[in-house]
Amino acid sequence: MPKRIAVITTVYKYLSHAQHEADRILVGYPHAGAWHRPDMKIVSLYVDQKPENDLSAARAREFGFVVYPTIAEALRCGTDKLAVDAVMIIGEHGNYPRNEKGQILYPRYEFFRQCVDVFEKDGRAVPVFNDKHLSYSFEKAKWMVGAHERLGFPMLAGSSLPVTWRLPDIELPLGCEIEDALMVGEGGSDPMDFHALEGMQCMVERRKGGETGVRAVQLIEGDAVWKAGDQGRWSKELLTAALSRSDTPLGLTVKDGRTQDLVHNGELPKLVKNPWAYFIEYADGLKSTLLMLDGALQDFNFAARVRGAGLMSTQFLLTPEPNVTYSACLIGKVEEMFVSGRAPYPVERTLLVSGVLEGCLTSRVQAHKQLETPHLNVSYQAPKERQHCRA
């Protein structure tokens, strides 16, 4: 019997997350060199917004599922009891307001809460996948993970970055000692900084002792970012290492094709009008930095200095539209959880990153102050198995 899936989403239009993620259940996806057709069936859909280019009705007609007007009805498939084997919450895209910190108020928590209500009323809970971060609010995110622990249903969340291809195909050794870590990316807040932070987190969580949480965060912007680099607050050596993996330097490369040593040729401040630096201080003393350098590049690259191994760096490969095959890597992990009942990597990673992002954006609106984050005492162990796409 195919697994019966409910999809709860904000909007279902071409190239929205719901479209390319849910469609993979409907039409299959490339996996390990074959076109994989999951033994899963979408039986119900809830979609919060239906713009003119909505595809949900057409999909429902073609693939024989029902679009329900409420989340509870979608989970119960019109009956009075939970009638699905798993839930995908895809709360990305659609028109939602931003708060004063610039966070888009996607209703992921609100969707999740309604699912949990059904689980509690009906006395049965099923695995839930939550696309991207849990909520713009750490309090809400924590409630979500708390519900997962309380009711004991498997839960997976997060970005495609931790599971996509890496160039080169490296993994930090489990239990390594990380001296310094840096991620460089672009694309603005708060969609793309979340991806970058989670890409970095899936690397640093492998350090000795596992993850023990974050004690302070700070976000600075503008010239202060370059000054911080000059003062050694973030490592130019690591930025050079990360940029050595980039395929998309802008500026002179676009103009005449040349390669560039962007850290040392003086072009960065000309290219990046408003750099942002996210500083993360972990409970165990590790410090890491995310640099969002819009205007300098268009990909996501990580570097770390690892005791005994030296510099390690890689690009998280975001494959091009429209295929965005990285989302096939993510759906492979979702399917793995739906089939096995076990999340291949801990949802606490996404919980911590959700909180780090909120903390950094709060720092930004509080005069870029460093903020103590005792609430981010999130501990977990990294998965032993490598989880990124390599087969």
Binding site: V27, P30, G33, S244, D247, T253, D256, G257, T259, L317
Partner: protein, 417 residues
């Protein structure tokens, strides 16, 4: 013709080493044309400006001191480069570039980039890039100077098989290290896998894109760098047959090549054109492929030991290079993508030139090619044979001249670090 691994290593070891004493090797670059995003710009630029490599901005430990450019167009950037890097002088002739204006060879290595530029096409559709002619001028300097240095030739050796063979034979008779070929064998792979050495390959196939006498060569190098690792190494190719247009689809339906390998290769693509509006990633049916693919071309060929390979150019269906093979004792096809970070909107840098330049550096430093030029001699001949079969109304073209034997390198030479 047979070159054993021992002879291959002995031949190159006997060649003059580029690195003499503590001196940094000095290189000459001989190019057809030098504009933004041309092969010359990608390759020569990496010697001048360095490139991202292994967590640093790597500067090759050698100096590119002279440049010859055959065609200077309106969009030329070589003069800008020469102005910014005054240690590199431009010369009006190949001989002067190699002698630095003196009477004797004055460089330790030569980079020959004969791609792009305005050159006539012949009746078979081959662009007559003057790689052979440039090579002849290079070896004339070698002969006149009584000394030879390593040469790297970008892409295939020549559009003309006899000339390509002569280039190879000359390098052997004069005893200088010679490397050539495409970026495809040395670029990233997704997944990052190597054909296990000694794997008994039964069938191999590449689904890629681009034109005849152009990207077909890259597709053939994609296949060859994998299948050369089979037991016994490479033994040459007996015949080639091309299929184009309706013949291609008929051959597909007749299962001239295995559908399961084509499917595996397509499942490695990151650029599969969606067959249905509103869907971003669906597997195409036969009718979809037929509708989407513009002017499909297949080269089907058989190696001397019976291995059969197929190179498929499927323009508008994919924009990447995907390999699949049937290996004895393995139920599922073995497959990967040779990933080119292509600056066609997806990236800004053609960074697949970085591993290519890195391999050149190794040859210029050690005097030893990092992979055998016989691979590219064979793919040069395969490219010309595919073109020939197309020209002969897609008739099977026997290739007794492609009895090229060689052993692969033990070490993997694709980009993994």
């Amino acid at each position: 013709m047979r070159v054993s691994r021992r002879e291959f290593i002995a031949g190159t070891a006997a060649a003059p080493l580029a690195l003499r004493g503590q001196q940094r090797p000095r290189l000459a670059a001989v190019c057809t044309i030098y504009f933004r995003m041309s092969h010359a710009q990608h390759i020569v630029g990496r010697f001048l400006e360095g490139y991202g490599w292994n967590s640093t901005h790597h500067h090759p430990p050698m100096d590119l001191v002279s440049l010859y450019v055959n065609q200077i167009g309106k969009d030329d950037v070589s003069r800008e480069r020469a102005a910014r890097y005054p240690a590199m002088k431009m010369y009006p002739t190949i001989a002067e570039a190699l002698t630095l204006g003196t009477s004797k060879l004055a460089v330790d290595g030569v980079v020959l980039v004969g791609e792009h530029g305005h050159y006539p096409r012949n009746e078979k559709g081959q662009t007559k890039y003057p790689r052979y002619e440039f090579f002849q001028q290079i070896v004339k300097v070698f002969r006149d100077s009584g000394r030879s240095v390593p040469v790297f030739n970008d892409k295939h050796l020549s559009w003309n098989w006899d000339w390509a063979k002569e280039m190879y034979d000359t390098s052997r008779s004069m005893g200088f290290p010679f490397m050539a070929g495409s970026s495809l064998p040395v670029t990233w792979r997704t997944p990052s896998v190597e054909m296990p050495e000694g794997a008994r390959v039964r069938e191999a196939l590449c689904v890629c894109y681009g034109g005849v006498d152009s990207y077909d060569f890259h597709g053939l190098e994609t296949i060859q760098c994998m299948v050369e690792r089979r037991p016994g190494g490479e033994s040459g190719v007996k015949w080639v047959q091309a299929y184009r247009g309706e013949n291609f689809w008929k051959a597909y339906q007749d299962r001239v090549w295995p559908h399961e390998l084509m499917e595996a290769a397509l499942c490695r693509s990151h650029t599969l054109t969606p067959a249905r509006q509103g869907f971003n990633n669906v597997f195409p049916t036969f009718e979809d492929m037929k509708r989407l693919t513009k002017d499909p071309v297949a080269y089907r060929y058989e190696h001397s030991d019976g291995l059969k390979c197929t190179m498929l150019l499927m323009d508008d269906l994919v924009r990447d290079f995907n390999f699949a093979a049937k290996i004895e004792g393995r139920a599922e096809p073995f497959s990967t993508q040779m990933y080119l970070p292509m600056p066609d909107g997806r990236t800004t840098l053609a960074n697949f030139f970085s591993p290519l330049v890195n391999n050149m550096e190794k040859m210029f430093l050690t005097g030893r090619p990092t992979y055998p030029v016989e691979r590219t001699l064979l793919t040069t001949g395969l490219t010309a044979a595919g073109v020939e079969s197309l020209y002969r109304k897609q008739a099977r073209y026997d290739t007794p001249h492609l009895n090229i034997s060689y052993q692969p390198t033990k070490e993997s030479t694709f980009w993994r670090t």
